[in-house]
Symmetry: C2
Subunit: 207 residues, 2 copies
């Protein structure tokens, strides 16, 4: 039984109560990330949490609600990270560097959660999707403003601000696809590497 690993994964969801609901969301994150939403069964989730299939429905109305909760929480955390960087003091280059480092390393550190929120969007119900899409637009806007600021200030050389924003976001998000804990890079190293590469993209590489 993988119940111990599910408990580990649940650590990220410490504020979820009661305990059984927390174990379930941890198990779901693990299973969705490993196999994908559609390939994961409610029996599998319940089994990883050490419970019977029926127990899941005491805490969550449907399997989709579980995905939705994971998506909302994950997107809120990602947005918070981006907002912290965007609201920091310093030059546009400082803020961009900080944003990319934090955003990319989060996608590595929490690559299970990140994989779900980035690659299972289509499995959400229509209303839930709309809610998530709004959080994503906010994240995009924050990053675009940093890049726009840098371009306006002459710090950056950017030919296409929305396009560059899209590319930077895409680069960071895709970390969740390829990153594995047993690879040769730590999340911090990924963040460092990516911050440097992105500064190059906008023509503002630090010396």
């Amino acid at each position: 039984m993988g119940a111990e690993r599910a408990d580990e994964a649940a650590g990220e969801w410490a504020e979820v109560a009661p305990d059984a609901a927390q174990r379930l969301v941890g198990a779901a994150v693990e299973a969705f990330a490993e196999r994908g939403y559609h390939a994961t069964t409610t029996r599998d989730i319940a089994g990883r949490a050490g419970m019977s299939p029926a127990a899941l429905y005491i805490h969550y109305k449907t399997k989709e609600e579980l995905l939705y909760r994971i998506s909302v929480t994950g997107h809120e955390r990602a947005l918070k990270i981006m907002a912290a960087a965007a609201g920091a003091e310093g030059t546009a280059a400082d803020r961009l560097c900080c944003a990319v480092r934090a955003f990319a390393s989060w996608h590595a550190e929490r690559h299970t959660t990140a994989r779900i929120i980035q690659y299972e969007l289509k499995a959400l119900g229509e209303e839930h999707y709309a809610e998530i899409a709004d959080l994503r637009r906010q994240t995009d806007r924050l990053l675009r403003e940093i890049i726009q600021d840098g371009a306006d200030a002459g710090e950056f050389t950017v030919r296409d601000v929305p396009g560059t924003t899209l590319a930077v976001l895409s680069l960071c998000v895709d970390v969740a696809r390829w990153f594995t804990a047993d690879g040769k890079r730590t999340p911090d190293q990924v963040g460092e590497l990516y911050a440097d590469l992105v500064l190059g993209m906008v023509g503002a590489r630090r010396p």
Copy 2:
């Protein structure tokens, strides 16, 4: 019935014979890209191809074989594009520019196929996966060699060649996730933008 659209998608698979097998692979590409492999039913594929569910099994042994055929063909095309750029004449910057432009724009142009081959890898059987993984390693190696050449020649400023290779590949691949035909950028424009951004990443932006 979506049979006409499936026919359209099948155009990319013109060399597949007989005609029914071609329509089926076109329908499968469309369905897998739209809903994902696990959420697509054999009835859906057959329906889009204008046939009964049983007809699928005359041309393909299993649903997984359909995914495998799409994956092999797609990866071979992607590899061919990378190989053409890597084998071209010119400086490392020329070749990198050419590689990224072609690779990124292919992922936009053929975003349905690309989405499947990049995001449904885990749904392949073990042996099929191993075969595909080999094609992916070849693509990675070709790009890494271009970047290494540029670094060796002093054309590029790269602190981490494997890491930068990974990032460039990741950037291009992820085009398949966000690109839609009704967006404001054409595949060629995406290729152009990305080539410019990547040259910035390696510190070799053209004037």
